[in-house]
C-alpha cells in the first residue's frame, strides 16, 4: 500500500533542546496511525513539521509523496485537515458561522455543516456562540471543522482529551466512519485505551525518539508473559504458566468444577509503554 506520510531521520532542535531525534516511520494510505507519548515527548512538534508549520532541523518528511515544504501550496492544504490542542475558533461567532467560514475557504457546500455537526453531536447547538461553550463542546466544534472538507489525511492532536465518555464514543464512531470512507488518520494521544480502540498501528514516542512501532495486537503479544489467570469459585486467583504444565493444572481445576473465570494476561499498551520507557504516560 502507498505511503501517505514518510519520515526519514527527522530531527528538531529548539535552542539547545532536542525535541525529535532520528525519527523514522511511514504511514500507509487508509490506516489509523497512533503516535503515543507523554506530554513533551515531541508529538505536537511532529504534527507541526508534517503540516508545514515548523521546519525540521535535519532529516526529511514527505506527505502525499512531496516534501513538507510543498504543503505551503494552496492545492495541498485542501488535502489535509488538522485538529490542534488550541481551538482556533472565533469566540464571538456562532458554531454555524465558524463552520460557514471554513466551508467558503475549502469550497465546501453549507449542507455539509449539518452532517459534521451530527458527527460530533452538536446539531442542536449550532446557533450558540463559541464563547458560551464548554471545553468539550469547543473541542467537538474544532473536530467538526477538521472533518468539513473530508480530507485525505487528518491530523488529530489529542482529539478527545476534554470529552466525556459518551461523546468520546460518539467521536470514535465518526472517526471510524471517516476512515472507512478512505481518510488516513494520524492521531497523537497519551490515552492508551483510545489508541487501542482506534489505531491500526502505533508508535511509542519518548524523549523525541520512537521506541516501538507495530500493531497494538502484535505489541501486546510480544510483551505478554503468556500466563493465564484462573479465578476459582472460592474467589482464589491462580496464575498458570504457559505450556503443558499450565494446561494440565487448568484441566484439573475444570475437571473438579472449580473454575469461575479464565483470563489471558496480556499487558495493556500503558504497561508496555512503562516497561519500554520507564516513564508513565501523562
Amino acid at each position: 500500500m502507498e505511503n501517505i506520510i514518510e519520515v526519514k531521520n527527522l530531527e528538531k532542535i529548539f535552542a539547545n533542546q532536542t525535541a525529535l531525534e532520528s525519527v523514522d516511520f511511514q504511514v500507509k494510505r487508509g490506516e489509523v496511525f497512533g503516535f503515543l507519548g507523554p506530554s513533551g515527548s515531541g508529538k505536537t512538534t511532529t504534527i507541526k513539521i508534517l503540516t508545514g508549520q515548523l521546519l525540521p532541523t535535519n532529516g526529511e518528511a514527505f506527505v502525499f509523496g512531496e516534501s513538507v515544504e510543498k504543503l505551503k501550496q494552496s492545492s495541498y492544504r485542501k488535502r489535509f485537515g488538522v485538529l490542534t490542542d488550541n481551538s482556533g475558533l472565533y469566540v464571538r461567532l456562532s458554531i454555524y458561522d465558524n463552520l460557514k467560514l471554513y466551508c467558503d475557504l475549502y469550497d465546501v457546500s453549507y449542507t455539509k455543516i449539518d452532517e459534521v455537526l451530527a458527527a460530533v453531536n452538536l446539531q442542536e447547538d449550532q446557533k450558540k456562540r463559541i464563547s458560551t461553550l464548554s471545553k468539550g463542546m469547543t473541542q467537538r466544534v474544532t473536530l467538526a471543522r477538521a472533518l468539513l472538507h473530508e480530507p485525505e489525511l487528518l491530523f488529530l492532536d489529542e482529539p478527545t482529551s476534554a470529552l466525556d465518555p459518551v461523546n468520546t464514543l460518539h467521536i470514535y464512531e465518526g472517526l471510524r466512519a471517516l476512515n472507512k470512507k478512505g481518510t488516513t488518520i494520524f492521531l497523537t494521544t497519551h490515552d492508551m485505551q483510545e489508541a487501542d480502540t482506534l489505531c491500526d498501528r502505533i508508535a511509542f514516542l519518548n524523549k523525541g525518539r520512537i521506541q516501538l512501532l507495530d500493531t497494538p495486537n502484535k505489541l501486546k503479544k510480544k510483551y505478554s508473559d503468556s500466563t493465564i489467570t484462573v479465578e476459582l469459585k472460592n474467589e482464589e486467583k491462580i496464575v498458570l504458566p504457559a505450556g503443558a504444565e499450565g494446561a494440565q493444572q487448568l484441566y484439573d481445576y475444570m475437571q473438579s468444577n472449580q473454575v469461575e473465570t479464565i483470563h489471558s494476561n496480556e499487558p495493556t499498551l500503558g504497561d508496555i509503554f512503562v516497561q519500554v520507557t520507564g516513564r508513565k504516560l501523562a
Binding site: K48, L89, Y106
Partner: protein
C-alpha cells in the same frame, strides 16, 4: 496563483460580524467624526485641522483597527487556521484588510462632511486619501503581525497615532531643525502638501510626485507586511 473572491468575502464577512461584537475596538471609529463635528461647529477650521482629523482617522481606524484584527487572530490562534486553509497569502491579507479599508473610507467621508471640508479638487484628494489608506493599512498589518496580543498591538500603535495625527506640526519646526526635513517625506505631510496645492488651484501635473511618494510608502508597508506574514506561517 489562485485568487478567490469567495474566500476574500468569507474572511471579510467573518471580520465584519466579529468586529461589530467587539465594542472595545469598534468604538474608536466614532472618535474622528465626533472631533470633526466639534471642529465643524467652531467655524474656524483650516486645512491643517481638517488633515489632523483625517490623519487621526488613518491612525485610529486604518492602523489601530487593522493591527487589532490581525493581533487578535494571532492571540486566539485563528490566524494559523487561516494559514493552514487553502486560502493564499493574497486572499487572506486582502480579506483581512477589506473591513479596515471600508471603515477608514466611511469614517473619513463622514468626518469630512461633519467638519465642512470641501476640497477644490475632489478627484485628486480622493486618490491621495485612498493611497494613504493603503499605507496605514499596511502599517497596521505589520504591527498586528509583530504584536503577540491585542494589548501589545494597542500599545505599539500609539506612536503611530501620535506621529501621524499630529506630525503635521513638524513642518513648523523644519526651519529651526533642518534634520526634520526628512520628515517632510512622511505620507501625512505629503498628503497635507497635496491638499494645500489643491486649494491653491494647482493641477495633477504638479502633484503626481507627492502621490508617487505616498504610493511608495504604501507599497513598502505592504511588501514588508507580506514578508513578515510569510515568516509567521512557520514557527
Amino acid at each position: 496563483m489562485t485568487f478567490s473572491w469567495k474566500r476574500i468575502n468569507a474572511i471579510f464577512m467573518k471580520d465584519y460580524k466579529d468586529f461589530s461584537r467587539n465594542l472595545a475596538v469598534s468604538m474608536v471609529i466614532f472618535l474622528p467624526p465626533i472631533l470633526a463635528a466639534f471642529i465643524g461647529r467652531m467655524g474656524a477650521a483650516s486645512i491643517e485641522s481638517y488633515y489632523m482629523i483625517i490623519n487621526m482617522a488613518f491612525g485610529m481606524v486604518a492602523s489601530y483597527v487593522q493591527s487589532c484584527l490581525i493581533a487578535e487572530e494571532k492571540e486566539k490562534n485563528t490566524l494559523r487556521g487561516l494559514m493552514l486553509s487553502p486560502a493564499t497569502t493574497t486572499e487572506i491579507l486582502t480579506g483581512k484588510t477589506l473591513l479596515s479599508f471600508v471603515l477608514t473610507i466611511v469614517t473619513i467621508l463622514l468626518s469630512i462632511v461633519l467638519a465642512g471640508y470641501n476640497p477644490a479638487n475632489i478627484a485628486i484628494i480622493a486618490v491621495a486619501i485612498i493611497l494613504s489608506t493603503f499605507f496605514y493599512l499596511g502599517l497596521g498589518t505589520l504591527l498586528g503581525l509583530y504584536a503577540k496580543s491585542v494589548m501589545e498591538a494597542s500599545v505599539l500603535v500609539l506612536p503611530v497615532m501620535i506621529i501621524f495625527s499630529f506630525g503635521t506640526m513638524i513642518i513648523a519646526l523644519v526651519e529651526q531643525y533642518p534634520i526634520l526635513k526628512a520628515a517632510t517625506y512622511l505620507p501625512n505631510i505629503q498628503l497635507l502638501e497635496i491638499a494645500a496645492k489643491v486649494e491653491a488651484g494647482i493641477g495633477f501635473g504638479d502633484i503626481w510626485l507627492h502621490l508617487a511618494i505616498i504610493a511608495a510608502w504604501a507599497v513598502a508597508s505592504f511588501a514588508t507586511a507580506v514578508v513578515i506574514y510569510r515568516k509567521r506561517m512557520v514557527d
